[in-house]
Amino acid sequence: MRKYFLIAKNTWDETLTYRVSFIMWRVRNTIQLLTIYFLWLVVLSGNKTILGYDQPAMLTYILGTSLLDAIVLSSRSYAVGEEINSGNLMNFLLRPINYFKYWLAKDVGDKAMNVVFSLIEISLIFIILKPPLFFQTNLFYIFLFIFSAFLAFFIYFFINFLLGLVGFWSPEIWAPRFIFITILGFFSGSLFPLDILPKAIFSILKFLPFTYLLYFPLKIYLGQLAFSEVLQGLIISSLWVFGMYYLVKIVWKKGLKTYAAYGK
């Protein structure tokens, strides 16, 4: 366990080594966040509401996506495909280290740094722009929010890892990831709560993993879901976690059989 803790800590230190790049990355995130923040601020100005969202609920949702993005979507495991393509994977296969746990630890280190910066950014926005926000006081909802974010963390990790495993069969690892990021950007709910979409589309999205990365935890935080809906969402999230876990294991085993360690 200690070695994985050290890997996470090294990732944290690595990020601090390339400070300028990381700070620029956070500045870019903040610009994107502010764009969507201001859009919703004007759309819901003057006590307007959209499908149950007033200004405080929507702005809490949008700022919440920033924090949850840091917890769930920031990662280093996108580099798995490159490691396979370059042949670097061989170095890990020879070491007494679990490759999954290695990347999980790296992700944790990366997320920790992103969460710290995200909290600072949100605090600054709160101090400077003074948005009307909704604060959840019910501990039960807060607990469920944390639990659903925990599940989202693993769903994203396994999907990300799975995309990297494409590297076993193709050198073209960035193009599928580009499509994935595009779909994720829309269907995870980072621009808007997914339930403002037409009902037919939303009812399909309920069964896809993207919905459970940002949208679902934030809906729980806002207290806008009935207990049965929360339970249904947690069951679907859990199924995705286990489903993706087993899929990654199967693909990993098949990939290793075809792996020729070219590049090294």
């Binding site: 620029m24 610009i31 859009l39 959209i50 499908l51 193009a175 779909i183």
Partner: protein, 262 residues
């Protein structure tokens, strides 16, 4: 060198870069599909919002679409023509930049227009089609406002060109290109919506200081008939001044290039 020679050079470099881009057809097709998905999803997002609210800061659905498409066209044209700037850092680090300096071709031309990205062509065509569809849905549109729209679009491209020259100049001085370039991309994406959604002083900053507003919002405002002649003149003045200053900055940076990698 005359213009036709520049065009020939550009064409030659673009065909070579395109052959490279299509070396993996599977990857190229996926990238094109990805760009089209991104475009369609964002349009859908705008449709969903405006269907729920009727208007955004007083702009109707087709006006909001025109703002987005104008941003998309300026952004895609800049990416299409100036894609080579994204490769500049590796040229500096690997020493290729020294090699470019010895060639009988203006080095700034080589770095800016050294290979257009053919993968952007479908999205460019789609943007142009949507611009004309938007025009047909604007009640206030006139032939003159369409002319001003395209003039300001070219003006916006000059600003985009200036930004890219700035990125190259910073790249020479610091070897840092990617962060500056992506920061530019994120600032310009603020122009996907009319700049009127932002509160002051942010609105003034992104209109005049970092002239994203002039670059992508002003052409659409002119088409809708919301831009005064004074602002049109100011926007032309801003773009020419920016281009002039950045060319000066480029010359300043080039004189300080230390050829560290070779």
């Amino acid at each position: 060198m005359n213009l036709s020679k520049y065009l020939k050079l550009w064409w030659k470099m673009t065909t070579m870069v395109s052959q490279n881009a299509f070396a993996s057809r599977f990857g190229a097709i996926l990238f094109i599909i990805g760009k089209l998905i991104r475009f369609s999803f964002f349009m859908f997002f705008l449709l969903v919002i405006t269907s729920r609210t009727q208007a955004i800061v007083g702009y109707t659905i087709w006006e909001v679409i025109l703002f987005y498409i104008t941003f998309n066209l300026v952004d895609s044209l800049a990416q299409f023509f100036l894609r080579e700037v994204y490769r500049f850092r590796s040229y500096v680090i690997r020493g290729d930049f020294d090699y470019f300096l010895t060639k009988p071709m203006p080095v700034l031309f080589r770095l800016l227009f050294g290979g257009s990205d053919a993968l952007d062509i479908p999205i460019l065509l789609l943007s142009i089609i949507f611009i004309f569809i938007s025009f047909t849905h604007l009640s206030s549109i006139t032939f003159l406002s369409i002319l001003i729209y395209f003039a300001l679009l070219i003006n916006g491209l000059i600003i985009a060109l200036s930004f890219h020259i700035f990125v190259l100049s910073i790249g020479i001085l610091t070897s840092e290109v990617d962060n500056t370039l992506w920061l530019y991309r994120d600032l310009t994406q603020m122009g996907r919506f009319p700049v009127d959604i932002y509160q002051n002083p942010l609105r003034s900053i992104i209109t005049f200081v970092i002239p994203v507003g002039i670059m992508v919002t002003f052409p659409a405002k002119a088409a809708i008939g919301l831009l005064s002649p004074n602002l049109i003149l100011i926007s032309i003045f801003v773009s020419i001044t920016l281009l002039y200053l950045n060319l000066k900055f480029w010359n300043f940076s080039l004189k300080r290039y230390s050829s560290a990698s070779s």
